[in-house]
Amino acid sequence: MKEVVIVSAVRTPIGSFGEVSNLNKLISVDDAVNMINDGMSIMVGGFLGCKNPFKIVNALVEKGVKNITLIANDTSFPEVGIGKLIVNKQVKKLIASHIGTNKETGNQMNAGELDVELVPQGTLAERIRAAGAGLGGILTPTGIGTIVADGKKTIEVDGKEYLLEKPLRADVAIIVGAKVDKKGNIRYSKATRNFNPMMATAADIVIVEADEIVEVGELDPDDIMTPGIFVNYIVLGGNE
């Protein structure tokens, strides 16, 4: 395992992680994983590996952070992105909508090694959004009459039943961006957008892995999909 590099004193101290300042947000992947410790809840963007923040996730695998609560749409494939966190048994609890593409997830779940909460995909996206939006949860018709409703409150509105699903936050969100300016303003590309915009609003520390980092002002204000105020740190991504 790679030696852990101590976060340099230049970085924002722990106490102010939740606040996004206009200080230099660019950090190394080592600085990024040094903020992520055993037992944390971590949201990771991507949909079946398209695409996880591969560089940071690989560094997390290398560092061997344990007992993670992982929040993601799926667990990718065993050899791809966050799939490795599962294979490497770094995840204690998983909150996801789909685990069928990574057999190891089902194996660990059936063996009682991994606690899995399956959430309908639309509910997952909306629960994360609700957390970021300061809403008390969502009222969805999805899951009514199924085991997804077990133990949850139902609310009747104008004669129709809805499930009350609670907001979902994390300690850290690790997301991907295609073009990211130095203030952290993000533009996503194509089908890689998926859960990233919501996750950016719903974690104490938000780290974006950027395909490309550009100067402030290079992105048209109409083209930015996640405002930089949500982003604490930027890591330049690489290719897996």
Partner: protein, 220 residues
């Protein structure tokens, strides 16, 4: 009995006839994906991919794959002119909000009240529901496209036994044997594959089929 691939294409071809010009359609992974091969040239269907876009096109040619353009099954695909990318919350605004006209998906079990089970077999196979629960809850028309039976076992039941995906949501069941509509009175056999007798279809179906006077031959 037709060969496996013939059956799949037969079903997919018949499903395609349910799609109308301008429909927004979400096709599940597997058999439902084949439906896109049978859409007539004179109508335009807008395919929704729940991972985040509208206007999904055909699979790319070899060597032209874009790693940022994959479908909800993780396979390379393309986007037609006029297509749109969005995030997962907006994707499910479209789905849950009733803006998908037709969703086509497979089933482990479906019953005469339109209940659907397609996301888990407890203790055995638990892939998760992905977007299926939202899709069947939100889409205007839900079509189950599948083989009529599984290894000789009934899939079209009086009452689903597996954990449900949703309650009372299925509108049509299309199999290699026929087209069934879920109605308030029960399951009506609307069309039949002329290779089978009504008795054949009933034997392959646990639910009691209602046979209307105007039962038609399936046009696939």
């Amino acid at each position: 009995m037709m060969d496996k691939n013939l059956v799949k294409n037969y079903i997919a071809k018949r499903v395609a006839k349910e799609l109308k010009d301008g429909n927004v359609v979400n096709l599940g992974i597997g058999l439902p994906t084949l439906v896109s091969n049978f859409i007539p040239d004179d109508i335009e269907i807008i395919l929704q991919s729940e991972n985040g876009f509208l206007g999904m096109g055909p699979a790319p040619k070899e060597g032209e794959e874009d790693p940022y353009v994959v479908n909800a099954g993780g396979q390379y695909t393309t986007v037609n002119p006029g297509g749109v990318f969005f995030d997962s919350a907006d994707s499910f605004v479209i789905i849950r909000g009733g803006h998908v006209d037709v969703t086509v998906l497979g089933a482990l079990e479906v019953d005469e009240r339109g209940n659907l089970a397609n996301w888990m077999v407890p203790g055995k196979m638990v892939p998760g529901m992905g977007g299926a629960m939202d899709l069947v809850t939100g889409a205007k028309k839900v079509i189950v496209a599948m083989n009529h039976t599984a290894k000789g076992n009934h899939k079209i039941l009086k009452e689903c036994k597996l954990p449900l995906t949703a309650v009372n949501v299925v509108n049509f069941i299309i199999t290699e044997m026929g087209v069934m509509e879920v109605t308030a009175s029960g399951l009506v056999l609307r069309e039949i594959n002329p290779e089978y007798s009504i008795e054949d279809v009933q034997i392959a179906t646990e639910a009691t089929l209602i046979i209307p006077e105007d039962l038609k031959e399936i046009q696939a």
